[in-house]
């Protein structure tokens, strides 16, 4: 028996003495506020205070807390109250999975130092990773000792505090945090090899072991053992039959009885390793086909051809040629995949972290041979996704076991499992040429990209199609020849990661632009302004551009650019770099609808059925803000029904920077439709104002005022007296064989300016400041927009300087490095609003744009500082040093 004080209360537990304190708190005492992101001390999300000192609960033996005072995020103290409100006010919690650890590390700091400086806060929080925020708002919140109130009301354009924020600063309930009573614990057997055949021993005997509730293999799957985000390419088994095609692939499941410590060490499986195809260039010519129906291991190729790039390059005044190689990049959300499943009657319920509930339902239903109305997806709070939680992971596995056993079941991936088995950013090898005329106007871009799409299709086709469209950047380019092909290897599955390949392409294009500007003798910023797309210009796909904000973004950076150049002048190692982005919001030339429903109850509650999953980016706040503004009633009257495939219409997936634009537009149209109904009832025009109190809707127009007693209105089937539901699908047009057409209805734009210092002798980089100008069309919520910018930049920093996923070698957060508090410099965001007629109130997407310019701007600044041309990412110190040594003086 271990007795200790927990948040001021005495408690006793019979936990084993070496049990991790995180397990004691979460499993034995049921306090789920303390999060587990790695079980290895690397993420700090499990930070608690023991006798006032911050410790990782995952590294602390239970016995050591005997007699001690343990404080967790569940505690109420004056510091915690102040920190919670400051976190909300500053928008310091996005997905919220790191928040409990951050809060506790901050309490530890504030007790030692009630008025910390930014540097002290950064140091004190250095042991907690956050993948969403870029840390700046967290540090600001910790240093903010004022008690000012957060903004809790206001329409479009207000920095409204996150509507779902209170839960996040209290320790929200993520995939692992709700466990149905009596749930089995599910564990996967995964391939230790990149490519291997396997056979099972006596599974029946294994299944009879005490504590084992069942063993499941591909043979147990009732439906089609194949999923994929793009149905024509669906190729990935939920549980692989032999052979396994990548390291980490699931080949069997074992369900353990509750309370049993899962031990898979002698699971009867025999592996025969086979030669693996790991290099895309070799895979293209290899006779070893990873999928028999894909010759040359080619999944697909996308192309955009406009004019005659070769001819235009031949006559261009200046030409640059270059290549760039990037690595697998891991999403490294702090929440490893987790969830649970149970049966309610004959309906399979799955509660798990996801970015795409309806796709989960469809894939799971197919795999389990169930009709859609027998699968209910109830997303948990999502501790970061960034693209990887679009594909199903554990949903079909949980579903299979719940269905087969009839018992509730839960599953939580280990960090290693999460990293090994889920998707990555595509490694890219890009080469090509860009030319301009004597006056510096771009003449042509020739682009050739090979993307390692790994063992299965996932989002490979999207990358292959999206990249050529964006390869020439947001610049007027008369001649374009761009091809991108996705090649299978036995590497991890490459999927969606913030930008779908466009960040890799931008690294190539934007670094070459700097070299081209130099050749043309034009300032690097002015060169970009000269070539910036403007309204009426034709894009690479021949689309007539509208609401084109790139010039405005670049011009907004002008004063910062010249200031930064002047400051860097004469200072060895100081460099200034710049890069732009454009990015089409929503699917490429494919239908991409969102539907939103809003009802008003007889008692006067406005209910917003909002199926867009909020993975931290803020749809739970932005969509209500849009709906409220369009309806003309205050946002705090809205009651949100979050995503649930039984309660919310399909608002599509949280990807492609589409939720604010597409679901936002659907919310806007729904709210407008509802408003029209109300105005009709009141016989009023759109000039009328609405108010709602005590079940009475009041419509006022000039001196006329009409009260609608909601309770006296007829009640519809769904319990609402007024109801509207609208769908919005972006008006796009297919691309022809040359990639010509209208792939997107709306584009967003941005440009970022990086100031840094390179330590020439060591090849290390110290970022000093990043200034980011983004055209968001309309900043529905400026604080959330800034949060996206800062978080995207942090991921861009990682992509540029440190992140490289090597299967089998960097499968943890110790060896796979993502930026910490000390790696993200001050960020100044400049929000520009060039309204797009398609977007709600003019809004465009932002979520992926923000990551695209960062890495090339960093590389450009490194080159400015040292002359070093980096062609292989990440730019680790030894690579920068080698490039400095190789640079011409």
């Amino acid at each position: 028996m271990i007795t200790f004080t927990l948040n001021g209360q005495p408690v006793t537990t019979d936990s084993a003495p070496t049990r991790r304190l995180s397990e004691v708190l979460r499993e034995d005492l049921g306090l789920k506020g303390t999060k587990v992101g790695c079980d290895a001390g690397d993420c700090g999300s499990c930070t608690v205070l023991v006798d006032g000192r911050a410790l990782c609960a995952c590294l602390t033996p239970a016995a050591r807390i005997a007699g001690a005072h343990v404080e967790t995020v569940e505690r109420e103290t004056p510091e915690l109250t102040r920190l919670r409100t400051a976190f909300l006010r500053h928008g310091a919690a996005q997905c919220g999975i790191c928040t409990p650890g951050m809060l506790m590390a901050a309490v530890d700091l504030l007790r030692r130092n009630p008025t910390p400086s930014e540097a002290e806060a950064s140091e004190a929080l250095g042991g907690v990773l956050c993948r969403c925020t870029g840390y700046r708002k967290i540090i600001a919140a910790v240093c903010d000792t004022t008690d000012s109130a957060a903004i809790t009301t206001g329409g479009v354009g207000t920095a409204l505090q996150r509507i779902d924020g209170a839960a996040k600063v209290a320790g929200d309930l993520f995939g692992a945090d709700v466990v149905p009573d009596g749930a089995l614990t599910l564990k996967a057997i995964r391939s230790p090899h990149h490519h291997a055949a396997f056979t099972f021993g006596d599974l029946t005997a294994y299944a009879q072991r005490p504590g084992v509730a069942g063993v499941f293999t591909a043979a147990d799957i009732p439906g089609l053992n194949r999923f994929g985000v793009i149905p024509p390419f669906a190729d990935q088994p939920a549980i692989a039959p032999s052979p396994a095609r990548f390291r980490g692939e699931c080949v069997a499941l074992v369900a353990f009885e509750p309370g049993v410590t899962p031990d898979l060490s002698d699971f009867p499986i025999h592996w025969q390793e086979r030669p693996a195809q790991m290099i895309p260039a070799e895979a293209e010519t290899s006779s070893h086909l990873i999928h028999d129906n894909r010759p040359g291991n080619r999944l697909t190729e996308g192309r955009v051809v406009k004019g005659d790039a070769a001819a235009a390059l031949a006559t261009s005044a200046h030409i640059v040629e270059g290549e760039i190689t990037t690595a697998f990049v891991e999403h490294a959300y702090i929440e490893p995949e987790a969830g649970s499943a149970w049966m309610e009657g004959d309906v399979l319920n799955i509660r798990a972290c996801t970015q795409a509930p309806v796709m989960d339902r469809d894939d799971t239903a197919t795999i389990l041979a169930l009709p859609h109305d027998r699968v209910r997806i109830r997303p948990s709070a999502v501790g970061g996704g960034f693209g990887s939680k679009l594909d199903v992971s554990l949903q079909p596995l949980l579903g299979l076991v719940a269905l087969k056993t009839g018992r509730p079941v839960r599953m939580t991936y280990t960090r290693q499992e999460s990293m090994a088995s889920t998707t990555k950013r595509h490694p890219a090898e890009i080469r090509g040429r860009i030319g301009c005329d004597a006056t510096g106007r771009i003449t042509a871009v020739a682009f050739e990209g090979r993307f390692d799409t790994g063992a299965y299709a996932s989002w490979g086709p999207t990358v292959a199609n999206r990249v050529p469209v964006h390869a020439s950047g947001p610049y007027l380019t008369p001649h374009v020849h761009a091809r991108a092909r996705a090649i299978h290897t036995n590497g991890p599955v490459s999927g969606a990661f913030r930008g779908f390949g466009v960040p890799q392409a931008a690294i190539w294009q934007e670094t070459l632009f700097d070299q081209l500007a130099d050749k043309a003798g034009i300032d690097r910023l002015e060169f970009r302004i000269l070539n910036a797309l403007t309204d009426g210009d034709l894009s690479a796909t021949g689309q007539v551009m509208q609401a084109t904000g790139i010039r405005e973004c670049l011009e907004a950076l002008r004063p910062h650019w010249y200031r930064a150049l002047a400051e860097a002048q004469g200072k060895p190692g100081r460099g200034v770099g710049l890069a732009s982005c454009w990015y089409g919001c929503g699917n490429t030339s494919l239908p991409n609808p969102s539907t939103i429903r809003i009802g008003i109850t007889p008692s006067g509650q406005i209910v917003l059925h909002q199926g867009a999953t909020d993975i931290g980016q803020g749809s739970n706040t932005v969509i209500p803000q849009i709906a409220a503004q369009a309806l003309g009633l205050p946002v705090e009257l809205f009651h949100l029904i979050g995503p649930d495939t039984f309660l919310t219409p399909d608002a599509g997936k949280t990807s492609a920077s589409r939720q604010t634009y597409v679901s936002g537009r659907a919310a806007h149209d729904t709210a407008r439709a509802l408003r029209s109904q109300i105005l009709r009832l009141a016989n009023a025009s759109d000039a009328a104002t609405l108010s709602l109190a005590n079940g009475t809707l009041t419509v006022t127009e000039g001196t006329t005022r009409r009260d609608i007693a909601l309770a006296s209105q007829p009640i519809g089937e769904d319990g609402y007296v007024l109801l509207a539901e609208e769908t919005y699908d972006p008006p796009t047009a297919p691309l022809d064989a040359n990639g010509q057409g209208k792939p997107y209805a709306v584009y967003g734009y941005g440009a970022q300016l990086v100031e840094l210092h390179v330590d020439r002798a060591l090849g290390t980089v110290k970022l000093l400041k990043i200034t980011a100008a983004h055209d968001v069309g309309r900043a529905i919520n400026p604080q959330l927009a800034e949060g996206q910018i800062e978080g995207g930049i942090a991921q861009g920093i990682g992509l540029a300087l440190m992140e490289e996923y090597l299967p089998g070698r960097t499968e943890n957060l110790h060896d796979y490095l993502i930026p910490t508090t000390g790696d993200v410099p001050p960020i100044q965001s400049i929000l520009l609003e060039i309204p797009d007629p398609e977007g709600p109130f003019g809004a465009k997407g932002l979520g992926e744009h923000v990551l695209i310019p960062t890495a090339p701007a960093i590389l450009n600044a490194i080159r400015h500082a040292t002359g070093a041309k980096i062609t292989r990412l990440p730019a680790l110190p030894h690579r920068i040093r080698a490039a400095i040594l190789g640079a011409k003086p």
Binding site: A16, P17, T18, R19, R20, E23, D39, A40, G41, D42, G44, T47, R53, A54, L55, C56, C58, L59, T60, P61, A63, R64, A105, D108, E123, A124, G126, G127, V128, L129, T261, A761, L762, G763, T764, L801, M802, E804, L806, R809, T810, N812, H814, D815, L817, I818, P819, T820, T821, G822, D823, P874, L876, P877, H878, R881, A882
Partner: protein, 272 residues
């Protein structure tokens, strides 16, 4: 499965003799373990004698269970600045509050940040077993990656820094690919004394550039008696013949050797 958390060394030694596995801060043991540690576990952290710092006849004695935070917070002479600087860079505060200097040495990672600062302090480890205590110089204790001279039944009880090594000023410089929580690509510690502008004593050590961290006796001898600027000229990659760096995911061997020389120059400048 047995678990013991004795509060005297005598008890601990007796339990250790029965083959129990030693647990100190747990920051190396828990990563990689499942929900609990396996096997019989002997937790050393309740033994007051293992966690104090005392001046004795042989020098400054640091108990093996002294945490990184204890070191940071202690009032120590400038010769130990390097050790304190290293302590502040081991993981984050959470790890510093739990991780111990003894665990760092026994874990014997080539990237253990505690080793170079202790090497320049001529550290001697005290190993206690059923038959009593013995002393070994640190460079004879760590004998390879993850390999030590700890015998069966022994516990690392203390690290002693001889009086002669408590003089001079020291500095630690660590190189990694990010700001916090980073495994060293290379790290160095130096301790030097200057007399009338000339180096009168010096100790240089480099880690993460070979299977074990090591001192650089030839270079130390070469710069003895030189002025600071003369010494800096001598610290070149080719002078680091004692190192045997390798290529790995974090850096190349050539880069490491070059970086180690640069780090040494910086550390020497800082300590001077």
């Amino acid at each position: 499965m047995l678990f013991a958390r004795p509060d005297t060394l005598t008890q601990a030694i007796a339990l250790r003799a029965q083959g129990m596995r030693v647990l100190s801060g747990g920051t190396d043991l828990y990563p990689g373990a499942s929900a609990e540690l396996s096997g019989d576990v002997l937790d050393l952290t309740a033994i007051p004698a293992l966690r104090d710092m005392t001046q004795g006849p042989d020098g400054l004695r640091i108990g093996a269970c002294t945490t990184w935070s204890d070191l940071v917070e202690a009032d120590l002479p400038p010769a130990l600045t390097a050790l304190q600087q290293a302590a502040l860079q081991v993981g984050g505060r959470q790890v510093q509050n739990a991780g111990t200097i003894g665990g760092n040495l026994c874990n014997a990672s080539p990237a253990a940040d505690g080793v170079p600062p202790l090497l320049v302090l001529d550290a001697v480890v005290e190993l206690t077993g059923p038959t009593g205590a013995r002393s070994l110089p640190l460079d004879q204790f760590i004998i390879g990656p993850r390999r030590t001279a700890l015998a069966q039944g022994e516990i690392l009880t203390a690290i002693t820094l001889p009086h002669s090594a408590l003089t001079g000023r020291s500095a630690f410089v660590k190189l990694g690919a990010r700001a916090h929580l980073v495994i060293s690509i290379a790290m160095v510690a130096v301790r030097i004394s200057l007399e009338k502008g000339h180096i009168s004593h010096c100790a240089l050590a480099v880690g993460s550039c070979g299977p074990v961290a090591c001192r650089l006796p030839r270079l130390e001898a070469a710069i003895l008696g030189l002025t600071l600027s003369q010494a800096l000229e001598q610290i070149t990659p080719t002078a680091l013949d004692a190192l045997s760096p390798i290529d790995d995911i974090r850096a190349t061997a050539a880069y490491r050797r070059e970086a180690a020389a640069e780090l040494l120059r910086r550390a020497v400048t800082e300590a001077a």
